[in-house]
């Protein structure tokens, strides 16, 4: 059986667990522990200490695994390991929390440095009034026009499906570009 992996990353409390939970065929495996840092406690009572894990079985021969990265910096050491062999990655951003955008930028830079892997950025929590628009996020994060910035509500399956499909289309585009350059 072949297994492929996508990584769902983003700042603390961006909605990664909800994203994987909305689409995974198994209950999301996540390590939720009581946290001790006061500022984090104001945001969530518990937080993902390690990472989330979800699964989508395609057929008897192919399984897609979704790995959510931990949101806090002290677990950065795991990113390198998680990124190995990934098909692509999704950067989740809580559009209502501009104070996390700088961290999102750092995460994008770090993951992009691991491998030239296609990725998309999701502007999560677009159902909330104070959410920044995807286009404003693109500007503030200084993303190139080739990077898709997608609206998302991580608790809604259709929204999550759309993000994953757009990432897969980006991967196809990348394959097309590689084939075109190989034939030149």
């Amino acid at each position: 059986m072949q297994t492929v992996k996508m990584v769902i990353t983003g700042p603390f409390s961006a909605g990664k667990t909800e994203f994987i939970g909305a689409i995974s065929e198994i209950d999301v495996v996540s390590t939720e522990r009581k946290i001790t840092l006061a500022n984090e406690q104001q945001i969530k009572e518990t937080t993902t200490v390690a990472m989330d894990f979800g699964r989508i079985t395609v057929d008897q021969d192919l399984v897609l695994y979704l790995f959510g990265t931990p949101g806090q910096r002290r677990f950065d050491f795991m990113w390198d390991i998680l990124s190995q062999g990934m098909l692509g990655f999704v950067v989740m951003i809580d559009s209502t929390k501009p104070e996390t955008f700088r961290e999102a930028q750092r995460i994008i830079d770090t993951f992009s440095s691991y491998a030239a892997t296609p990725y998309v950025v999701t502007a999560n929590k677009q159902d909330q009034e104070d959410a920044w628009s995807p286009e404003d996020l693109r500007i503030i994060l200084r993303l190139s026009p080739s990077v898709k910035v997608l609206p998302c509500v991580a608790t809604e399956r259709e929204s999550v499906k759309n993000v994953l499909l757009e990432l897969l289309y980006s991967i196809l585009d990348e394959l097309d570009a590689q084939e075109a350059s190989a034939s030149d």
Binding site: Q2, A50, M51, V58, M78, L87, L168
Partner: protein, 282 residues
Amino acid sequence: MALKGNLRDFPTTQILNLINLARKTGTLTIQGREAASMAFREGKLIDASLGKETDSLAHILQRSGKLSTEQVRIIETRATGISDKQLGHLLVRAGHVTQSDIIQSVRHYVLEIAYSLFAWAEGFFRFDADQLPANSRITIPIDLENVILEGSRRLNEQAALQREIPSLEATLRFSEQREMRARQLNLTPAEWRVAAQIAPQRSLRQIAQANNLDEFEIRRIVYGMLQIGFVEFTQSPRPGARPNGAARGPAAAPPLPPAAPQESGAARRSVVMRLIDRIRGL
């Protein structure tokens, strides 16, 4: 007069007990499966090394996940000739690690070597009194009583784990049991790091090497995952060709195969198309 002998007659537990009770200061060197040494000050373990070379602080921090491979490469090229203590100060001041990170990493490194020596049944040893590591080396005093207790416990557990998982050449996959109540799992970061690398084409030994886990640690983690049905062997585990080969640090690790195999463009496209069809149909 140096204290000399063979582990066959005088096992590691007894030597450590002697050093502890006599509050000895010096270095114990053992020539067994490979060369090993442990240094003691007034009966406390302060340093250890395995193999011909002593790991630098940079490599110890890399093994504990506090520094990346790239950071270590930069240190090795730009910070040649500085001592571990100097490097530690620089790294703390630059905010790359904390003092606690250094203490924990060095302590873990020393303890893992010490625990691994409990399993050595044979080897010449020699204790040289008053011979200590260079001043530039970072040393953390560790009480020997707990080392002896934990080492002895691991020795018993190791034998049981070896029976359950005889070969580290075995490969794992995630369990197909859909009824598995995954939400009840509570994995530690170390277990997650192992889980993140599970793929049918990757052996336990490779996962251990990539995560700087020794044979005992990888067996214990995998055993736990097997027991709760989170993972299963792709085939029944068979004794491997290297049952006694210790899983070592990154320097000794062969390159890992990627989790997603390197495929031709057509094969990769086929995978992506199948994923698209599946997700559209959800």
